[in-house]
């Protein structure tokens, strides 16, 4: 039996609940990505806060807090097998308890650890590979935008805007870092791929929907600082040590299109 769910973490936890209280799950998949086959029966699991809460607490108490965090991080990965890998991990965890944390040599553990590792690595990488632009506080036409209304009322001051396209769904993992860093700014971090965004004002943040295409006007001196930064970026490289491979290994090309230093300015 395959379990299908709505793609949320809570929904996934409900699948774990169903696995124990209803019927064994062989695989767990988000319903919008599932390839239905004749051979494999499937069942759509409803997301219920109460059940999710129970499983959440159970992981915390019967396995460990470290495992809960690991499961959560791994869940944010873009691996298509992640739910099934996590299922196997949790099954083992509920059997042997806290010991699962350090059982590196067990394949089931190793796999989830790899997912966690990838997400954590991108999380750390994105702390640096985000570029903000100062944009005019007043939105020109996007008045119909649902929740960021209170932001556009902040006329006169600029807003910091950044577009990102991370491999994994790491927006919420980097939110606190930036909220603390810019306690007096209003900023938006836009995950274009997932059409969601982090809205932050005076250190408080929330996540919301934000569609792909946006129009905005950059503030007056924005272009100047972009040029200055690009000039700096080019001047700091040591010609005698040029090493494009190393540059690409550390900063994969797929990130470049959202980085100011790789654009050209008139």
């Amino acid at each position: 039996m395959d379990y299908l769910y709505d793609g949320s973490f809570e929904g996934f936890l409900c699948c774990i609940y169903a696995h124990y209280y209803k019927k064994r799950a062989e695989g767990i998949y988000p319903e919008n990505h599932y390839q239905r086959t004749m051979l494999q029966p499937f069942f759509i699991v409803e997301t219920e806060a109460e059940k999710a809460e129970k499983v959440y607490k159970a992981i915390q108490n019967k396995i460990s807090n470290a495992s809960l965090q690991r499961v959560y991080k791994a869940f944010l990965s873009n691996d298509i097998q992640k739910e099934t890998k996590l299922l196997n991990y949790l099954v083992l965890g509920f059997r042997i308890g806290k010991k699962v944390d350090a059982l590196h040599s067990e394949t089931v553990v190793y796999q989830v650890q790899q997912l966690e590792h990838k997400v954590a690595a991108e999380q750390h990488r994105l702390l640096g590979l985000v570029r903000f632009s100062a944009i005019e506080g007043k939105k020109e036409k996007d008045k119909e935008k649902d929740k960021e209304k209170d932001i556009s009322s902040d006329a006169g001051r600029h807003i910091l805007y950044s577009a990102i396209e991370p491999d994994h769904n790491i927006l919420e993992l980097i939110a606190d870092h930036f909220a603390q860093r810019f306690p007096e700014e209003t900023f938006i971090m836009h995950d274009i791929k997932r059409e969601k965004a982090l809205f932050c004002q005076n250190g408080d943040w929330y996540l919301g929907h934000l569609r792909k295409e946006l129009t905005y006007a950059v503030s007056e001196d924005e272009l100047e600082y972009r040029k200055l930064w690009k000039k700096y970026f080019n001047s700091i490289a040591i010609t005698e040590r040029t090493n494009a491979d190393c540059q690409k290994r550390c900063m994969p090309v797929r990130y470049w299109k959202n980085l100011t230093e790789f654009h050209s300015y008139p």
């Binding site: 010991k99 350090a102 059982l103 590196h104 040599s105 190793y110 750390h124 702390l127 640096g128 590979l129 985000v130 570029r131 903000f132 632009s133 100062a134 910091l160 950044s162 870092h177 930036f178 603390q180 860093r181 810019f182 306690p183 007096e184 700014e185 001196d221 100047e224 600082y225 040029k227 200055l228 930064w229 000039k231 700096y232 970026f233 080019n234 001047s235 700091i236 490289a237 040591i238 010609t239 005698e240 040590r241 040029t242 090493n243 494009a244 491979d245 190393c246 540059q247 290994r249 550390c250 900063m251 980085l259 100011t260 230093e261």
Partner: protein
Amino acid sequence: MPGLDVMLEKLKILADSAKYDVSCSSSGADRTKTNKMGTAAVSGICHSWSADGRCISLLKILFSNRCVYDCEYCVNRRSADVQRASFEPEELAKLTIEFYKRNYIEGLFLSSAVEVSPDYTAERILKALSLLREKYGFSGYIHAKIIPGVSAELVRQIGMQADRLSVNIELPTKESLAILAPQKKAAGILTPMRQITNTMKEQKSLKGAGNRFSKLKQGNDYLLNGMALPTAVREQEAKYGMVPYDKGSLHRFAPAGQTTQMIIGATPESDRQIIRMSESLYKKFQMKRVYFSAYIPVVSSSKLPALLTPPPLLREHRLYQADWLLRFYGFSAEELLDEDSPFFDLELDPKVTWALRHLELFPLEINKVSMEELLRIPGVGNISAMRIVRQRRLGAVTFDDLKKIGVVVKRARYFITCNGKYYGAGDIASECIRERMLSQEKIRSGLLPREKEEQLSLFGSERRNLLYEPKEAARGLLV
């Protein structure tokens, strides 16, 4: 602010002159005090990588390159014919805050040539830092260079604004210093170093380098290759005492500690002299890091390597690996290199070199030996050693487990037994191992085709460009 074109020009000149400075680390300061803008992250964050593959974390820049000194090895020395520029304190503060706001950088790394005099330069640097901290409310990371010869009061005030301070030792011996940087006196370098150390000691924030395995505990007098403080200075220091640290202040003095830098390959010193020098600096001043910088010939001089001499990048890399062994693996300089063999084997990493010179200690049984011994096995790092110890409590570690644990098995296998069995294929004769390790090392440096599977590097974060392209360099220098 002057026009954009002027700023672009200044930025170009002053970034260009700062780029040979190696230290990029932005970690270690925890300035939690909330301010208008900025946090100093505890683990370093890279914001970009330049075309040479080096991480860009800080706005690394000179305040001015108008120098009155004439250090032989320096592009900016007085007698050199280069474009000159200086920032105004306000310009630099504003630039930093605007870059920071856009998340281009993690902070500022400010150095300078000696414009007019050490104190004149230091005052302007202090002005820029104060503007940044006070006017713009910046609480991100600042690393400031202290120019040798700056007065104690200015060192103190800059230290109150900066997270990290460094005074460059420049060269590994007193003799070399006298030849290549005649205006910089050993005492002028060591005096502020000691002041910084003592001030941190006073505010109880002196941590030093390395982890719990390092043997870099503070000691008394270490040889600094002839660069000891002259007695006169010591007496003077004893007489006036340290400039008192202001306990009531919100700011702390250099919370991220002190570092220094040494130029490698401009002078004939041996690796042994260099490593012993850095060990002394760690012990005597409780430095956070000692950086090395492979000398890139930028000027033609009879006292220096010829213009087309390739910078000793591989040697620099070996020294960094050795430094790592001092800080995290419990090795001492004396153990790594003795008088009979004062250089590292350029083709092997220093840990392997050491192990091959001490084959009598191997093989070690993975399931029995202590943490300290595990750390001496080539291919075993801090994390994998910790994992081995942790997993041993649950059951014997098998040979297959080692790879998953993160051990570089290809390297370690010659030096271990696992549950009594040796996996090194054949006997442990030094030459034969060396042969095999060598071919692996070449693969790692990209000289031979790489095998499909990525190897975990023992020195992950220190890994850098090992392949030097002489043609490229020649072009860069001639134009």
